[in-house]
Amino acid sequence: MLDLHGFGDQLLQGASITIQLALCSLLVGLILGLLGASAKLSNIKPLQWIANLYTTIIRGVPELLTVLIIYFGATTVLMAIASQFGYQEYIEIGPFAAGVTALGLTFGAYATEVFRGALQAIPKGQHEAAIALGMQPRRKFFRIILPQVWRVALPGIGNLFLVLLKDTALVSVVGLEDIMRKANVAVSNTKEPFLFYLVAAFMYLALTIVSMAVVHFLEKRASRGLTRG
């Protein structure tokens, strides 16, 4: 039988951190993605430029590098901002906050493209019908457009979430106590690298399978208004 030398609990705690990190980054990323897509489709040129710059840079730079830049750079930037307001103490952001920022930014950049496609896939008639019913722009967006965008974008967003889940392992490099880090600790204590990394791999695999099931369920739910002839 599998002998984890008492590190099983530690690995499960790591899994909990991994899940928290993934869900927080997902939330940040979804908001950034919607904002990015709206900016790309808006008529205001500077907004389009910012959104294009954002997606190009984030998608062209390795995720590991993004994590490192945020983790080591954020301290410098935050302290510079704080010193403008007369605050001179040392500020440090933890690996979790840095991870959520970096992975959220990454997810947001890819989600921007998915949402943009989905927003463009909504037939013009839907917009016109909402306006004809006298809906305000905000109400139209939340009641008519967003639920449909959600349905179209879900498969793409689901794929991105699977990528995000695996990218969480990168945050262990800056010291977050996730599955990967716990596995590292276990390895340095027991000298059984193959066993613990394999266990870690299967934990990620299990998380992947659960996420796939959830995405499948959500997809079914989101398209329940759609009858297939």
């Binding site: 062209g60 390795p62 590098l65 490192l68 690298p193 193959f194 990394y197 791999a201």
Partner: protein, 238 residues
């Protein structure tokens, strides 16, 4: 906050040495990955689950787990076994460079196999039937018709995969390799200028990705030139 970009110029030669290592890693694993991926994709298509089962598990494992775990499994994991340490493979498996190559190759081959499979299955059934009618053997059909056709279909997705591989190669720095990211980290350990050096490294990655995108656009144009008539614009009259 004062950014001093003179360190970037001072350390540029070392960053470029790291860039060369990154390029070597990506090129080797992409080429080896494609070679490994082709048989996997062909086996995965098979309707016999005895043939398609193993490729399915392989692809599922390598796409479902983080690359970081895979690299650690190869680099640290292999040394757990006495048998491996004493075998003829050990000179290879103790080198971080070859461990990175092995992990990257296996990882990218899983993704590439799925891309290949999608492309082969996207070829219209009529072309397969046409091959059979002409009396081609299965090997001839694949070699003359299906694979060249798949190559054209595969290109956009394959270009993306190379860029993903380029970004994934940054993980080589976690097993002490001095690729672009690894080099940036060692420079920062000495100069303590994380923002400047990391931004410079990010810029270099960006330049390489843009170059890859450009090259693939050219190849795509060439490979799919027989489709060109479809996209010729009708000149305006008057």
């Amino acid at each position: 906050m004062e950014l001093d970009f003179s360190v970037v110029i001072e350390y540029l030669p070392r960053l470029l040495t790291g860039t060369w290592m990154t390029i070597k890693l990506v090129l080797l694993s992409i080429v080896l990955g494609a070679i490994v991926a082709l048989p996997i994709a062909l086996a995965r298509i098979s309707k016999n689950w005895l043939v398609s089962g193993v490729p399915f598990a392989f692809i599922f494992f390598f796409r479902g787990t983080p690359l970081l775990v895979q690299i650690f499994l190869v680099y640290y994991g292999a040394s757990q076994f006495e048998a491996v340490r004493e075998s003829f493979l050990w000179p290879v498996l103790k080198e971080p460079f070859w461990c990175a190559i092995i992990a990257f190759t296996l990882n990218t081959s899983a993704y590439t196999a799925e891309i290949f499979r999608g492309a082969i299955q996207a070829i219209p059934e009529g072309e397969v039937e046409a091959c059979k009618v002409i009396g081609m053997s299965k090997a001839q059909m694949y070699r003359r018709i299906l694979l060249p056709r798949a190559f054209g279909i595969v290109l956009p997705a394959y270009g993306n995969e190379i860029i993903l591989m380029l970004k994934a190669s940054a993980l080589a720095s976690t097993i002490t390799l001095l690729d672009l990211t690894g080099m940036a980290r060692t420079i920062i350990a000495r100069t303590y200028t994380p923002i400047e050096i990391f931004l410079a490294a990010g810029g270099i990655y960006l330049v390489i990705s843009i170059f890859v995108i450009y090259v693939f656009r050219l190849i795509e144009k060439r490979q799919n030139r027989y489709l060109g008539t479809l996209s010729i614009k009708v000149p305006d009259k008057g």
